[in-house]
Symmetry: C2
Subunit: 320 residues, 2 copies
């Protein structure tokens, strides 16, 4: 790991210790960094440690950490206050509630407490940094660092500057994130949903519409992805996929299939199919397939699959 832009022994802080924040704590600690964890709710903060210990044990079972889980867990400490958490920290990862007023209040608090150097990344999955982090002393040092959950398994992180973020802040966070093993995506302009959730939204919009129009069942739409489309997308993005799918590369593909895709796009210009009747129907379909009392067990299955996937990736050296 190259986390050399953080001084030896200098901690990072995790503020907000729900699933996302606690997941970040593991990602940082696994890479050798000392992590201070703070949550306004002390119960949430203290629950994060046994949860992390469990996850670290699972990572060890899957061969995803070499160190003893206890050695990694020993780098996690709880802080009693925001001030204590960020005192001397090189970086703060903010993962509080996804609400603009809550994030703004935290930025005001950090503005009053933070040193002149600390960089602050926000886990916001959709709210732009400019909506809560501007016009403060810290503003040049705040940006979005949006993970996929859990960040210690799925490597992608979107870095999205506000209109006031400095280039140095982007460069620092890029190095830090690559240093702990994340895959960094630079979103160059603020846009609702950033890149990841916009791509997911586009696919979901079509999926909901196909269900609404009686074209295919939820389960058959799911099969189309998990037994078809998703295979290539698990190791190649959409541009590389089509680049390799025509003899002459992506331009050749676009010229051959552009008219079909254009026609499909023309057929889907209404602005969104998520009405209550449709939601109720999809909910019924899903519950027929997976009863509500089986959701928790299925989430455990998903997490095991993600760990197995990460282990397989790590094993083949993540050949890309």
């Amino acid at each position: 790991m190259n986390v050399s832009q953080v001084n030896p022994g200098q901690p990072v802080a995790v503020v907000g210790a729900g699933l996302v924040g606690a997941g970040w704590a593991i990602a940082f600690a696994r890479a050798g960094l000392n992590v201070r964890i703070y949550d306004a709710n002390p119960h949430t903060a203290s629950a994060a440690l046994p949860w992390a210990a469990n996850q670290l044990a699972a990572l060890h079972r899957h061969g995803l950490i070499d160190e003893a889980p206890e050695a990694v867990a020993a780098r996690l400490t709880l802080a009693d206050s925001l001030a204590q958490a960020i005192d001397g920290a090189a970086y703060v990862q903010e993962s509080v509630l996804e609400r603009v007023d809550v994030k703004r209040q935290l930025m005001l608090d950090l503005d009053a407490l933070a040193g002149a150097d600390v960089v602050i990344g926000s886990s916001s999955s959709g709210i732009k940094a400019s909506d809560f982090a501007n016009d403060l002393t810290i503003s040049p040092r705040v940006l979005i660092a949006h993970p996929v959950n859990p960040p210690y398994l799925v490597p992608v992180v979107e870095l999205v500057p506000s209109t006031q973020t400095s280039p140095e802040t982007i460069a620092f966070t890029d190095r830090l994130m690559r240093g702990i093993g994340q895959s960094v995506v630079h979103v160059r302009k603020e846009i609702e949903g950033f890149v990841l959730n916009r791509l997911q939204a586009a696919l979901l919009r079509e999926a909901w519409a196909l269900q609404r129009d009686g074209i295919a069942s939820c389960e058959d739409i799911d099969k189309t992805v998990r037994d078809g489309l998703g295979w290539r997308w698990s190791f190649m993005g959409p541009f590389e996929t089509i680049d390799l799918n025509a003899p002459g590369g992506v331009a050749d593909y676009a010229n051959r299939l552009g008219p079909l895709y254009h026609s499909i796009a023309r057929s889907r210009t209404e602005d969104g199919p998520w009405d209550d009747a449709l939601i109720a129907r999809v909910e019924r379909d899903r519950r027929a397939h997976l009863p509500a009392d089986a959701l928790a067990a299925r989430r455990d299955w998903r997490d095991e699959r993600l760990m197995a996937f990460a282990a397989a990736r790590a094993k083949d050296g993540d050949k890309r």
Copy 2:
């Protein structure tokens, strides 16, 4: 394998022996069926056999077939004519050129030659069966059976009836495809692009637009999928993904995130961004990332990754 609806020894026919047709031949032969291969171009047909032998050897190396590759290859035979190919066949998989006039002519020929029982599946990836297969004696026995390439690795197949396809034809093809190990998706109404290419089109539309608007580079958009979104989609579809992503399941998720997705959908109602300048820019980006003379080697890499992915799936019993 349960291919019991095909009589013992009764062959299936593959008409059109390009990459898709030859891939189908492997999928059928691997399951124990005798396959007759015909292509109007004799060079294409005879090239299919050594190509299939190579692929079967690779499948064997990856532990994806138990039989000796030669034993599977021995079930593939070339036919000198369309009549010879389909004589006594239980099923014909059509994989000729994706052009409505070419497919219509083949249907006219099959109508003149085919017995009263044979079922005909078309590999068409976008053209509806009603556009080329209607108003013939065989019409009730024709449907779309659209694979992902290669069908012997990626299991999904979309069955799409024409307006004249009989329910028995759908049921027969469903059993046959499940019998040879495919994952069957039923598309209940004819729609351009069916389900798979519509979902791909939706994601690509957003990807092209993000590139066009300078939000992110091709490579960063690709990373977002291969290091993020694509992980879950390789073993769960989009509905299951969101069903597990909110405490109360899919309706809970839709109520929480519906407004965000709706807003994203409202921002993307123009009908398609694939203009020549954009295509040229994406082509430049991709060629900077992967030179044209490296495309072939990268396709080999992709095929190896797909085989490794299939082997990993088979190993864990394809737990779903």
